[in-house]
């Protein structure tokens, strides 16, 4: 009943290959976009933006980036936290070195810097695979955090070793710093998320994405059919790191405003983003979003329910939160090892048949 597909025909290849071939899905997508861009900005307050929307949107970009590398190209990476740190420190150095250039340009440039670093650390992937590559990227994680802690140039020789985002404006609106309006921060992140998702979606279904997937499924076979592994793997590292760098830059400049590299971009962050894509669904753009939502929003929701609603002790609630989320992860992975995205896909197939399944 939900999906009324009667009369929904594709008459051209273009129509057949669009992202949302079913009309209902397409309209739902437009509706979500409309609400996200034109309705939510008028109703958000500081709490909604800083505690819910910004972390969700920013982690979505990071998950999207890692999903390109791990989900589409099959290269396991544990360096996401380190690459986010590169994005954050790059945008900090750019913001302080060129204060007159718009911070939004700096954020994109920070993604570019991270892409270069990503290529550098992606080079070992040409020789090593699987767990060994994971360990090599783990080295990147620790090395990068160590570098940012060790070399004072990166934090402009500040006594505390922290980086603080100075106030920057875009079209007269404050984008970074404490005076930022909630809706501005929200819209900035939303624009980056939307563009990232559209770019990622189109890349992964084009020639480049196909070569990534060929490498993921069987690299020797891919090489035989003419996929250049050097090009495919390094481009995956570069593009993945680009997105991760943008998320790190937004995380520092728009969301937190002050960052301590060891605590914020530590190994835990790498695992968190990796769990997002595993739970959300490897090799799925939608999976990146739903995985980020699961791991970012659920703890906040549980906290609000347990402490705010039931009035439980905060520590009991915090421990219970770990147990509930851990239990849910195990349950979801048993029920559907391909992640929440696959669960959604199956649900949709059922809904299309409903109420008359074969």
């Amino acid at each position: 009943m939900l999906y009324r597909e009667a009369g929904d025909f594709s008459t051209t290849y273009r129509e057949d290959n669009q992202t949302f071939p079913i009309r209902f899905d397409r309209y739902r997508y437009y509706a979500v976009m409309l609400i996200a861009f034109l309705v939510i900005p008028f109703f958000v307050n500081d709490y909604w933006v800083n505690a819910i929307f910004l972390p969700f949107l920013i982690y979505s970009i990071a998950a999207l980036g890692l999903n390109i590398l791990t989900g589409y190209c099959g290269q396991v990476s544990l360096g996401t936290g380190g690459f986010m740190a590169v994005g954050a420190y790059a945008v900090y150095k750019l913001m302080t070195a060129f204060p007159d250039i718009s911070v939004l340009i700096h954020i994109v440039l920070a993604g570019g810097v991270t892409a270069l670093v990503g290529i550098l650390f992606g080079l070992p992937s040409l020789r090593i695979k699987g767990f060994y590559l994971a360990v090599a990227t783990l080295a990147a994680q620790f090395f990068l955090v160590w570098v940012f802690n060790r070399i004072p140039w990166f934090y402009n020789y500040s006594a505390s070793g922290q980086i603080n985002a100075p106030e920057r404006t875009f079209l007269g609106f404050t984008v970074t710093g404490a005076e930022t309006k909630a809706w501005v921060a929200y819209l900035v992140c939303l624009v980056f998320v939307t563009i990232s998702a559209i770019v990622a979606r189109n890349m992964t279904r084009g020639a480049l994405g196909r070569s990534w997937m060929a490498i993921r499924d069987m690299d020797i076979a891919a090489e035989i059919i003419g996929v250049n592994p050097l090009k495919a793997k390094l481009s995956a590292f570069a593009i993945s790191s680009f997105f991760v760098g943008i998320s790190g830059a937004l995380y520092f400049s728009v969301y937190l405003g002050a960052v301590e590299v060891g605590e914020v971009f530590g190994i835990n962050k790498s695992f968190l983003v990796l769990f997002m894509i595993i739970i959300g669904g490897l090799g799925s753009v939608f999976g990146s979003f739903i995985g980020a939502a699961f791991l970012v929003l659920l703890p906040v929701l549980l906290k609000n329910v347990l402490v705010g609603y039931f009035g439980w002790q905060t520590d009991v609630a915090a421990h219970l939160e770990f147990m509930i989320i851990g239990g849910l992860i195990v349950w979801f992975l048993i029920v559907e090892p391909h992640g929440l995205a696959q669960l959604w896909r199956l649900g949709k197939e059922k809904l299309r048949m409903w109420p008359f399944p074969y």
């Binding site: 070793g161 922290q162 603080n164 937190l256 405003g257 605590e263 530590g266 609000n304």
Partner: protein, 426 residues
């Protein structure tokens, strides 16, 4: 769809809450994670103190106090969530209990017009009230702590530690890095050799650091540690048989939870103190009568009388006095966030006030002004007696070298003001 369901569920929860006249004191608690050994006594102490105030006096000036506990696990993201979720409830003063989060909140709280009190931690140069209008770090800070520790060493060595080796073991974060600058300057001034060894968050693994210390054989080791890091460091020091009386922690590295795991081997370990240890104070009778005997104890009740519990009582006492001062200055009982800042700025803690509240001789007196948000800077040294399992003060409250620190505070805060276009006040 999933997202929308969550939003709908959240919005129904968010708009439920009472709106009575009350004084909200938010508290960033960490009862979970690697910093819980330090976080639990603090949050228990705060809760017990204000339960006592509510039970005994019916609140402050007749308005009950509500301690708004928010679990952060010493995590930055959760702290941001806590700040945003509590600020709308009329939170009077934030005490983030983390230097990293303090740096995060300084611009935010200033923009929102809410006071930030970082007692003995946080950004040292916030002591300059001309620049930092909303931030207070009375009665002491890390630079005075470093100076007090060095002055203690000077006193022990007859006024000269020239040529001695002093090593700092520090939590590799804004917290641990804060004293380095002053220690380097003190090393120049007094001619001792100084080096600093970082320990990465969370500090459960310190073998290589203590190996380095064993090799370099410093005369004294100072420590800026927090949470699990403290007990691990004291254990490692015992393992390399470093003489404990030459090992001095900052006031955040000297509680029972830090020394007990090392047992007898921790005997003689020293730490700085902002306030006296022990339970020999009138306030403990009040707490017993009004809180414990009524079964209102916060947490498990096993932290009572510990160093950090006492620290929390001190923090709560200072908050209590600031609220009273704010009520006195503005003439309103149910004070606002802006009134609280006025109260803190006019605060003067005298020995008589402390005696009146059952805290005679607990800590030195000090006065806050519009220009000076930093307090006296005094600190004492306490030593652990492992057989009696007690901390004992072994010195009086020691003066820091303010002649050196004051210009540094001025310089650092003015650089901050220039960077952020802040006009000088007062």
């Amino acid at each position: 769809m999933f997202k929308k369901t969550i939003l709908a569920a959240l919005s129904s929860i968010m708009f439920a809450g009472p709106a009575l006249a009350e004084l909200v004191v938010p508290w960033f608690a960490y009862r979970t994670g690697a910093y819980a050994p330090s976080g639990i006594p603090l949050v228990d102490g705060i809760n017990d103190y204000f339960t006592m105030v509510n039970e005994r006096d019916g609140g402050i000036g007749g308005v009950p106090v509500r301690v708004l506990e928010c679990e952060t696990g010493y995590n930055t993201e959760k702290s941001v969530e806590c700040y945003e979720s509590t600020k709308a409830e009329g939170s009077l003063v934030y005490q983030p209990m983390s230097t990293g989060v303090t740096y995060q909140l300084i611009p935010k709280a200033t923009a929102d017009g809410i006071a930030l009190h970082t007692l003995g931690y946080g950004r040292t140069s916030a002591a300059n009230g001309r620049v930092f209008s909303n931030v207070f770090n009375y009665p002491a800070n890390y630079w005075t702590a470093a100076s007090v520790a060095v002055n203690h060493l000077l006193a022990e060595n007859g006024g000269s530690i020239s040529g001695k080796k002093v090593t700092l073991v520090y939590h590799n974060s804004a917290y641990g890095k804060e004293p380095i600058r002053v220690l380097e300057m003190l090393a120049d001034k007094h001619g001792f050799e100084f080096n600093a060894i970082p320990v990465d968050h969370p500090g459960q693994e310190q073998k290589s650091q203590w190996l380095q210390i064993r090799r370099e054989k410093p005369d004294y080791v100072l420590m800026w540690g927090w949470g699990v890091m403290n007990s691990v460091a004291i254990n490692e020091a015992a393992n390399i048989r470093f003489p404990m009386e030459n090992f001095i922690g900052v006031w955040w590295s000297g509680s029972e939870n830090d020394v007990l795991p090392a047992g007898m081997r921790a005997d003689g370990y020293k730490a700085l103190a902002l306030n006296a240890p022990g339970t020999d104070y009138g306030i403990y009778d009040e707490l017993k009568a009004n809180v414990w005997d009524k079964g209102l104890t916060a947490g498990a009740g096993d932290q009572i009388g510990s160093v950090l519990y006492n620290r929390a009582l001190y923090m709560a006492f200072l908050t209590h006095m600031a609220i009273e001062k704010a009520q006195e200055v503005t003439g309103v009982a149910d004070i606002s966030q802006a009134d609280m800042i006025k109260g803190m700025e006019a605060l003067e803690i005298t020995d008589a006030m402390m005696a009146e509240n059952g805290l005679a001789g607990f800590a030195p007196s000090f006065k806050v002004t519009c220009e000076d948000h930093g307090g006296s800077g005094l600190g004492a040294v306490q030593q652990w007696d492992a057989s009696a399992k007690t901390w004992n003060l072994i010195t009086d409250f020691i003066e820091p070298d303010m002649g050196m620190i004051a210009p540094l505070i001025k310089e650092d805060s003015e650089a901050f003001a220039k960077e952020n276009n802040i006009a000088m006040r007062c």
